[in-house]
């Protein structure tokens, strides 16, 4: 499993059992709702029932009479508190006023407009139901089409345009190239809105511990980032802020940064002086939390007669909702549309708009949409030329021989392997045999389809965007010989305490059991943005490599001094120090650690006592991960249901620290991709009411909706220390195009199926039957 160039690992590359699991499996994890502090009170929010309008009055008098209610806050109670709301890119304030509680303009259904503080959550909800909201309703702007012409969602803005990148019209030169192409494929994709849907909803416990200390337990993606966010957003530079998030029940982008409700609880905790808890319930989550996707895109691709791309243009719209975490989110990623391909000339425009719907947040795989439309368009071109999907990719992918190469979008690649990943799958899957099986099945009225997709993903971005910086590791050998480490990492299921311990144990030469990694608390480690952009394994892994190696140098120096040996002759294995050729001189690391900590006189002259090293690894600007996936589906012409019969993955994430963790990341992303294609949808009626507000209506994939995946690994080490490449998002990016291509392929006897997600049974059956079954819905 080890990559070339990486020494045979004692622990790197092994499926080590996770450090996190024993506590999580025995119910001893510590999630935010597990926190109970003395004197703690509970919060609940009253939420707006309409998508757009003006608040006329809020009457809290009846609610205040409920026994057990301590306080009810509305926006005016927070007027004296600075709130400069910001998203993941914490340096900038968001451009639209985003108040914790609705300040008079209602911008979507489910906006919090009052917060009750009570003895119990039950009582707080009782009181919320008694708060009377009087409002003047206005016609909402729900869809992107409505946003173009509708009255501004935010009266401070001239229109509903939230952000734009690129040029609105196709330039004359590009148009001429398109016109001259042998043929042009025009692909249009409608991508529904989805919910990130971590199994643990949002939540916070906030406590002001005297005038100068503020402690937050919050489910998040980085305690360090939250601390910085709180200082800046609430403008409280003089307060000491402690943020604790030991266990987090998934996030996927949603918990990148705190948002309105958490901020309201923080402000109330500062004002009220008792610990306050708010745990979002699932209904609130669906109506009030920020969501993801809802995009539409048109891609025009020109090809020559042989199927080589000549040029292209993308036109992309994104529904940002009313209060997006970042109005420019998802717009810049269009830059990463083509770096795996030979694309001579490409122009694009991306637009984000405001609507009267919940705001957008980050979601795993922000360039999933770009990958989806690109891969679907390539397959259509292949069908036009009557060649296999892999063949069109062979003609257009950048191969090893082409590198280094600067792609049409100005991105340099020198070690990507999407072509090689695809060939790896083709060695294991007989496409010709499948085509025979497919033809035979069609005669029986069974519709099999094959989907292939390839991609590369820029991971571990560092130093070129605010927040996305290096990662930190401090590694210590304590006097007992145990190794502890504090890192800037944070796990919402990523298993960083496991993978980082593998790196450290491996590099130092101690037992895996002897290493403990601490994270999940901003009082340990140092700043890091947490899990965002598939970065921790790569950059923090590099930091752990180097910090461990630095510590080994010190151990060797001390050992050489103590044993009167050459530092070069010293090795550490299984927690024991050995001198080459002198087995009788071996000594436990503990013995040396005792000296390093307690007997400074026995150390080499001038050496400071203690046994620790720390290192911040800045990493590379980005590290590319490559993959190819292949799946086989059968679409039922009787019901329009899709059955996934096989799914193969070949990915190249360089050095694999723990294959089980890597495969877990890919599989989790794929499951989300499958849900996105077949099941999940956040939709709104014409008045902006969500049509799915429970898990009964928002359909997450279950155990029987996800096939067993076959994993194949290529291991091209990256130039990053340790050779790792990021792998957290890939499955979510490549899953949808792979599956969509398979479904489209299955249904080619009925024509060219356009992508309008989700592919519900109603839509697919309607396509098969050549009639609209939707009833105009």
């Amino acid at each position: 499993m080890n990559a070339p160039g990486i020494p045979a690992g004692r622990f790197i590359g092994k499926r080590m059992p996770r450090k996190e699991d024993p506590r999580l499996l025995t119910g001893r994890g510590q999630f935010v709702d597990d926190i109970a502090l003395p004197g703690m009170l509970h919060c609940a929010f009253a939420r707006t029932p309409i998508a757009r309008g003006k608040i006329v009055s809020i009457d809290t008098s009846a609610a205040r009479e409920v026994p057990g209610v301590h306080m009810i806050y509305t926006a005016e109670d927070f007027a004296d508190q600075t709130v400069r709301m910001r998203g993941f890119f914490v340096e900038q304030e968001v451009p639209v006023r985003t108040p914790p509680l609705c300040e008079g303009r209602i911008a979507h259904v489910g906006e919090p407009f009052a917060m009750v503080v009570a003895d119990t959550r039950h009582i707080a909800e009782d009181a919320c139901s008694l708060i009377e909201l009087e409002y003047e309703e206005e016609d909402p702007v729900i869809t992107m089409a409505q946003a173009r012409t509708g009255a501004p969602v935010h009266p401070s803005m001239a229109d509903n345009m939230a952000g734009m990148t690129g040029v609105d019209e196709i330039g004359a030169e590009l148009q001429a190239k398109l016109d001259k192409s042998a043929f042009v494929i025009e692909e249009h994709v409608v991508h529904q809105r989805v919910a990130q849907s971590p199994m643990e909803t949002r939540g916070i416990v906030a406590t002001r511990d005297g005038p100068e200390e503020f402690t937050l337990y919050i489910t998040c993606q980085s305690p360090h980032l939250v601390a910085r966010w709180v200082t800046l957003t609430l403008d409280i530079p003089d307060m000491s802020i402690k943020v604790i998030a030991k266990d987090v029940g998934g996030s996927f982008g949603l918990k990148n940064n705190p948002w309105r409700e958490e901020t309201a609880v923080m402000i109330a905790a500062l004002k009220f002086g008792r610990p306050l808890k708010w745990i979002e319930d699932r209904y609130e989550y669906f109506i009030g939390a920020n969501q993801a996707r809802e995009q539409e895109m048109t891609l025009k691709l020109g090809f020559d007669t042989e199927g080589h791309m000549t040029c292209g243009h993308g036109d992309y719209d994104n529904n940002n909702g009313a209060f997006p975490h970042g109005p420019g989110d998802n717009l810049a990623v269009h830059l990463f549309m083509w770096p795996a391909y030979k694309m001579p000339d490409y122009g694009f425009v991306t637009r984000g708009c405001y609507t009267n719907t919940p705001g957008q947040a980050a979601y795993r795989g922000p360039w999933q949409m770009e990958s989806l439309i690109r891969e679907a368009a390539l397959d259509r071109a292949a069908r036009r030329l009557n060649i296999e999907p892999y063949e069109i990719r062979r003609r257009n992918l950048i191969t090893a021989a082409d590198q280094p190469a600067t792609t049409g979008m100005g991105i340099m690649v020198d070690d990507i392997t999407p072509h090689e990943c695809m060939e790896m799958l083709l060695e294991k899957f007989d496409v010709a045999a499948f085509r025979k099986e497919q033809a035979a099945a069609r005669k029986e009225g069974r519709y099999l389809g094959l989907g292939i997709a390839t991609y590369i993903e820029p991971t571990a971005v560092s130093g070129i965007m605010s927040s996305m910086t290096g990662e930190f590791a401090q590694v210590r050998i304590d006097p007992t010989g145990r190794v502890t480490a504090s890192l800037s990492t944070h796990s919402q299921g990523h298993g960083t305490a496991t993978t980082m311990a593998q790196v450290i144990a491996d590099r130092i030469g101690v037992r895996y059991e002897d290493v403990t990694v601490f994270e999940g608390d901003n009082s340990t480690g140092a700043f890091g943005p947490g899990a965002a952009g598939s970065r921790q394994g790569v950059i923090a892994g590099g930091a752990a490599f180097t910090a461990s190696d630095m510590l080994v140098e010190k151990v060797k120096a001390i050992a050489a001094h103590m044993l009167n040996a050459n530092a070069e002759s010293i090795t550490i294995d299984d927690g024991v120090i050995h001198v080459a050729g002198a087995p009788e001189m071996s000594m436990p690391l503990r013995e040396l650690a005792e000296v390093a900590h307690g007997h400074p006189a026995r150390l080499p002259e001038g050496m400071v006592s203690g046994l620790e090293a720390q290192y911040r690894y800045q990493g590379l600007p980005m590290v590319m991960t490559s993959a190819a996936h292949l799946c086989v589906v059968e679409v039922s012409a009787e019901t329009g249901f899709v059955e996934i019969k096989r799914w193969m993955s070949a990915e190249d994430c360089g050095t694999v620290i723990n294959p089980a963790v890597v495969e877990g990341q890919i599989a989790g992303g794929l499951a989300q991709g499958i849900g996105c294609v077949l099941l999940e949808e956040i939709a709104f009626d014409a008045r902006g009411n969500p049509t799915a507000a429970t898990y009964k209506d928002y359909l997450l994939p279950t155990i029987s909706d996800v096939p067993e995946f076959e994993f194949h690994h290529r291991n091209t080490p990256s130039k990053s220390t340790g050779g790792m490449r990021g792998v957290g998002e890939g499955g979510a990016i490549i899953g949808p195009p792979t599956l969509c291509n398979a479904i489209i392929d299955a249904l080619t006897p009925f024509g060219e199926l356009a992508i309008d997600l989700p592919f519900s049974p109603t839509k697919l059956l309607g396509f098969i039957e050549g009639r609209d079954l939707s009833g105009g819905h």
Partner: protein, 164 residues
């Protein structure tokens, strides 16, 4: 509103308390009794994270009132491992097969499988997987969970070598 004195056995220990009618078993177990391994993921009975054993059968504790469990024998995920810390076979299978990531949904999966494999029972893999249709996991894509089911099932010959 009415309060009720209730008593039940939780993880082999007697636990009594006074609850309001509307308190769910999940809230009672988490709050009054302190078994925070019972996770509440939806409160409408779909996600399965709150699954516990009541009188030997896996049920959703968010869909039961605490007062209804008066006199019952309740087991939560905290009650599975041996006192010396040795993991229950279901917990061990989950650890060996990397069947969890964030761990929030995990207690519900584990309790469902623990109920079905009580007393050394070895249902088929299909039965075990089928019983998990009411448990949602957002992290793992269910791969390790399926492998754990295989390992716990009657059809399991030996631990599969492919993931050694």
């Amino acid at each position: 509103m009415s309060d009720h004195d209730i008593a039940m056995t939780i993880n082999g220990r007697r636990h009594s308390g006074t609850v309001e009618s509307r308190i769910s078993l999940s809230d009672f177990l988490r709050g009054d009794a302190g078994y925070t391994g019972v996770h509440v993921g939806c409160e409408h009975g779909v996600c399965g994270a709150c699954t516990v054993m009541v009188d030997g059968r896996a049920v959703r504790s968010c869909l039961m009132l605490a007062v209804q469990a008066d006199g019952a024998d309740v087991v939560t995920v905290e009650g599975l491992a041996a006192p010396d810390g040795t993991l229950h076979p279901v917990q061990q299978a989950f650890r060996d097969e990397h069947a969890l990531q964030c761990g929030f949904c995990t207690p519900g999966f584990v309790m469902t499988l623990a109920a079905l494999t009580q007393g050394g029972a070895r249902p088929s893999e299909e039965e075990l997987v089928g019983a998990l249709s009411g448990n949602l996991c957002r992290c793992t894509g269910y791969q390790g969970i399926k492998r754990a089911c295989r390992r716990l099932s009657g059809s399991n010959m030996a631990d599969a070598g492919e993931h050694a």
